[in-house]
Subunit: 215 residues, 2 copies
DNA sequence: TGTACATCAGTGAACGCGCGTTCACTGATGTAC
DNA sequence: TGTACATCAGTGAACGCGCGTTCACTGATGTAC
């Protein structure tokens, strides 16, 4: 309780730490606003408001709203990549059920980010759309590589592997969207969504088992 | 050449016809603006500008911008329904190739409307999102009915038919998006897109042929 | 440890602008007689 | 056919508002000595 250096001593936050906290508040507040809005409809002033700073202070952190948006997209995509890496490491991930389980958990713990990605993927800000689209392509191409290592697929043409990866990613994307809507009126329940997705993955795998890479 | 009623006589447009023309210009101009924008980012004044009228005259046609948006969504969805009806009537539509052909033609002749639908489907205006989502469900359910009549599928559980229809619609949706991007940098060519989609449909059909509706 | 100066996150006033909406209006078209 | 009146799509001024951005500033934190 003395003032000579005990653990209880008040450590005043450094200037850099404060700045970082405000920056994080800007990103986080924006993600919150995006829960039911499009990025294109945000104003710099309301974003600043959510972080509790005056509009002009925004420029201490980003040159423009769009720049903040790109950072948000990059952060969200980093999260996605991490998910893929985790899934690959986990031994059971080759089964459809286990992979879906990872996806559901990830969506549930990063709802705002997934909502942001799904909304801006086809949205109105070209810079964001391009960034997200690029990441989706990388995603498909990583999954293509994974597939090429699976037993029975060693001799497939890369074109065929790619189209398979593509259809899997499409199906997973709509799982994400459905999950995000699942607590709203008219939304299907999480159980229904997962069960349907499992069947879809099984259907695709059945098709792949029968596939003859002709021509 | 007389003024007594020949075909060359000038027929002044009726007031109702003029009004209808302005209304159409508003809808059409808005669709044009939406080629690279989100609906949520439009302003009433710029919409009015594209139709060549003063902002206040807008209210002679719609109570609000949102109301115009809903009409736009309804029009676009009518076009989609028409496409499905045409596809069903055409005899060859049971083959993947023929159906894809119809889709490609329809997308090419209604690019703006498809762009609008794909952009607002996950977009920021709840009213539009709901309207489009409802239509997509109807779409899946109609396709489910079509599938249930196909040879070999008579005994499938409706749940399984639905999940198959769902994955087909997802794949077709991404075909539409790809087609809309196909003339832009980084876009794949129309030929690549169609070829991949054909393979995907074949893969799904192979899977369905092997499907055992167990449990 | 104390002092003098530099840094810089955040402030607050001010600007010009496009916005949605109101209102009273204009003048061509439509209708009743 | 002609006249007198009603309708109504489009006009133009005006309003208050939130916007992005500029600018000079404040005062706490950091640094050099």
């Amino acid at each position: 309780m003395s003032s000579t250096g005990s653990a209880a001593e008040i450590q005043p936050e450094s200037r850099a730490a404060r700045k970082e906290r405000t920056r994080a508040a800007l990103l986080d507040g924006t993600l919150g606003l995006l829960a039911d809005r499009t990025f294109a409809s945000l104003s710099l002033r309301e974003v600043a408001r959510t972080a509790g700073i005056v509009p002009t202070a925004f420029y201490r952190h980003f040159a423009s709203l769009e720049e903040l948006g790109v950072v948000l997209a990059e952060d969200s995509m980093r999260m996605l990549r991490q998910m893929l890496r985790d899934a690959r490491r986990s031994k059971g991930a080759k089964s459809a059920g286990a992979s879906l389980d990872i996806l559901v958990k990830q969506v549930r713990s990063h709802e705002d980010q997934f909502r942001f990605l799904s909304r801006e993927r086809y949205g109105g800000v070209p810079e964001l759309r391009r960034a997200i689209d690029l990441e989706m392509r990388l995603f498909v191409s990583e999954l293509t590589t994974d597939l090429s290592r699976m037993p029975g697929l060693e001799n497939w043409r890369s074109e065929d592997l790619e189209m398979s990866a593509d259809i899997i990613v499409s199906a997973m994307f709509s799982v994400v969207v459905d999950l995000l809507e699942s607590d709203r009126p008219n939304g299907r329940t999480q159980q229904d969504i997962v069960r349907r997705a499992e069947k879809q993955l099984r259907l695709i795998m059945l098709g792949m088992a029968e596939w003859r890479p002709s021509r």
